[in-house]
């Protein structure tokens, strides 16, 4: 499993004389799911297209199976790399089975007829992608997720050691994203094929991929397993931007909220965390209440109405809804202490 299927070395990509990204080096080991991440405009798609042989490279090497990609002809390359593109193709009259069958084209004869072995491979590919029950449906009648599965099945039927997917989860809703990512994970695990996909779903990629290629503006590529990259703080540097912070422990992004006032809160537990979150979204910083704070908020998670507002040590209101309570707090000007501008992370 440690064999390197593909490697790129000192690669420069771009159009004509314009270099989009340079000095790119990375490997694709066999049987790994690799996610390519990068902001828009860093050249993710250009890199994918260069590896697929769709456009010439400006310098450096792309080597697959010990041969240079750009020296392979269409036929040879079609047996090494299968692609799933973002292009939304409308093929008149095509059903799922036919589409997956076209994946066998590199192996069929002049008239493109499938033999018995091809038909078995096509059926197995549809089965594995969970699209076999739709094999007679027209592509135009499928949902976006089903269509994506059909194209992945086509790539599987092509029977190549490497499958490249350009943003396969764009346009999909969350359950479909997870399903597609799990499907790709499953393919990498069971078939030993390598999968290289570009994506913006960092959280899913952190959980499911073996390796990241992080493409920075202009290059180079930072590569490694998700865990190693977390240790090296690679994601912070990658997504450095005002108002957003990457949390290494959870692998999630946190949004910065500007804070203009603060309130003392007594309590603990889940209710406390939720209230703090709601208040910080409204620009109110939560501080721990001291025993001498007579204007305060108390959170008692065992009470029927857990959120209580105290002014001058008098409970003037109790609520069970965070939304209503936060509005009440905002109205009680005397409660809020104005403070200098600061920032706090969301949770």
């Amino acid at each position: 499993m440690n064999k390197n299927l593909l490697h790129i070395r000192n690669l420069s990509i771009g159009y004509g004389s314009k270099i989009v990204a340079g000095d790119l080096s990375a490997i694709v080991p066999s049987g790994e799911l690799i996610c390519l991440l990068g902001s828009n405009g860093t050249g993710k798609s250009t890199l994918m297209r260069s590896i697929c042989g769709f456009q010439p490279v400006l310098g450096g090497l792309i080597v697959i199976d010990n041969r240079e990609v750009h020296q392979l002809n269409e036929k040879e390359l079609s047996k090494q790399i299968a692609v799933v593109l973002t292009d939304r193709v409308v093929v008149p009259n095509a059903n799922v089975q036919e589409l997956v069958g076209y994946g066998r084209s590199p192996y069929t004869g002049m008239l493109g007829r499938l033999n018995a072995a091809d038909k078995i491979i096509v059926a197995r590919a549809m089965e594995q992608c969970g699209i076999a029950h739709k094999k007679d449906s027209l592509l135009t009648s499928l949902s976006d997720g089903e269509r994506q599965k059909a194209f992945i099945a086509k790539a599987l039927a092509q029977d190549t050691p490497l499958i490249i997917l350009d943003e396969p989860t764009a346009f999909l809703d969350l359950p479909a994203r997870v399903e597609i990512m799990q499907l790709l994970r499953d393919i990498a695990n069971t078939s030993g094929k390598s999968i290289l996909m570009s994506t913006h779903d960092l959280d899913l990629a952190l959980q499911l991929s073996d390796r990241f290629w992080l493409l920075q503006n202009g290059g180079p590529l930072i590569t490694g397993s998700p865990e190693d990259l977390l240790l090296k703080n690679a994601f912070q540097k990658m997504f450095q931007h005002k108002g957003i912070v990457f949390d290494n422990k959870t692998g999630l992004f946190k949004v910065m909220h500007a804070q203009h006032s603060q309130v003392a809160v007594k309590g603990h537990g889940f209710e406390y965390v939720l209230l703090r979150r709601a208040l910080s979204r409204k620009g109110i910083k939560v501080i721990r209440a001291n025993s001498d704070d007579c204007n305060r908020v108390e959170v008692n998670k065992d009470a029927q109405k857990p959120f209580s507002l105290y002014i001058g040590d008098q409970c003037i209101q109790s609520e069970d809804s965070v939304e209503v309570f936060v509005n009440r707090v905002l109205a009680a000007k005397s409660l809020l202490e104005v403070q200098s501008e600061s920032c706090v992370l969301s949770e």
Binding site: G53, L77, L99, G103, S105, T108, L138
Partner: protein, 346 residues
């Protein structure tokens, strides 16, 4: 799942049967109706007691039927090739400007030659016909060569389409200028040529025509794998091992030759090439061009024969120009297909 009449095993015999019926009707029906038994006897060479029937059949209806069959087949296949190559349901054999090239060639012969040498081509008989065919082929193949050259140099499918359409406009405008300065008789001849006809050929020439249309139409079956992949878009096609440039060249060459030949012998026949591919895709629910090309062959021939039949409906003294009938049949077909598809695609 699939309705029984849309299954491939049922469909092709069914449409072949329909084609045979249309051939029989084309031979039997007209201003003089001939019994089918007599038709069979005459066509198979046994002869008939009725010399008039024999003359009508062998001199008029048989060549007409053969020409309609070949022309319909060629135009159907050429239209299908163009619609798939350009991934555009409105494409047809004429989008590459090849029939406009033909018109320009014929325009030069009919309109200019008459002016320069001071005679009208209609008086030349058979030599006039040959001159027109040669001019038409010359114009068509000149445009075809230009398109192939551009396709090779530029590469993009869309740019080839746009340039084809532009060549069409250019030649039409040149023809317009020629018409403006021509003799009335010549313009009349040119207009007649432009209306299209299946009845300009003798039996011998009809057989020749059938050969050079039906054989390339069937050869297009060997392009079916390329067409299937081209339908997926250039990138998917090349990822599946297709040499895009070569495939595009062969497809344009095949469709262009078919269009050029039909236009040279019958004049520019409109609408069959655009409507038949829709019919072919409608009757069998497949994207596989191996079947679609078969369908286009059979249905193209059937449509042309139907139009030919309608052009000389019993009770009418003279024939209608074929293009007015094809548009009458073709336009509703295209409209109904778009109407039926509106739910699926959008």
């Amino acid at each position: 799942m699939i309705p029984i009449f849309q299954r491939k095993s049922v469909l092709i015999p069914l449409s072949l049967g329909l084609l045979l019926i249309l051939i029989a009707l084309n031979l039997a029906m007209g201003s003089v109706n001939i019994p089918i038994a007599e038709v069979v006897d005459i066509v198979t060479g046994k002869g008939s007691s009725n010399v008039i029937w024999e003359n009508i059949l062998l001199r008029t209806r048989l060549p007409q039927t053969i020409v309609a069959l070949g022309a319909g087949m060629a135009l159907g296949v050429a239209g299908l090739l163009m619609q798939t190559l350009f991934r555009n349901p409105l494409a047809g054999p004429s989008v590459l400007g090849i029939s406009s090239g033909s018109s320009l060639g014929v325009g030069f012969v009919l309109l200019v030659a008459g002016q320069v040498w001071g005679f009208s081509f209609s008086r030349l008989g058979i030599w006039g016909d040959l001159a027109i065919i040669t001019a038409s082929l010359g114009g068509a193949f000149a445009v075809l060569a230009l398109i192939l050259f551009i396709s090779h140099k530029i590469g993009g499918t869309l740019s080839v389409l746009i340039i084809g359409v532009m060549i069409g406009y250019l030649s039409n405008s040149v023809v317009g200028v020629l018409k403006f300065y021509s003799m009335e008789e010549d313009v009349h001849n040119y207009v007649i040529w432009g209306l299209g006809s299946f009845s300009r050929m003798s039996v011998d020439r009809a057989y020749l025509f059938a050969m050079i249309t039906i054989v390339p139409s069937l050869l297009a079956l060997f392009l079916s794998k390329s067409l299937n992949l081209m339908a997926l878009g250039d990138r998917y096609a090349s990822n599946l091992g297709l040499k895009i440039k070569r495939a595009r060249l062969l497809i344009i060459l095949c469709a262009g030759t078919l269009t050029a030949v039909v236009t040279a012998f019958c004049g520019p026949i409109i609408f069959i090439g655009m409507a038949v591919p829709h019919l072919a895709k409608l009757v069998s629910r497949t994207s596989n061009h191996l079947y679609l090309i078969c369908n286009a062959c059979i249905l193209g021939a059937a449509t042309a024969l139907l139009c030919n039949l309608l052009a000389r409906l019993p009770g009418m003294e003279s024939e209608l120009p074929i293009n007015s009938v094809t548009a009458f049949i073709g336009a509703p077909v295209v409209i109904s297909v778009i109407w039926k598809k509106r739910k699926e695609n959008f």
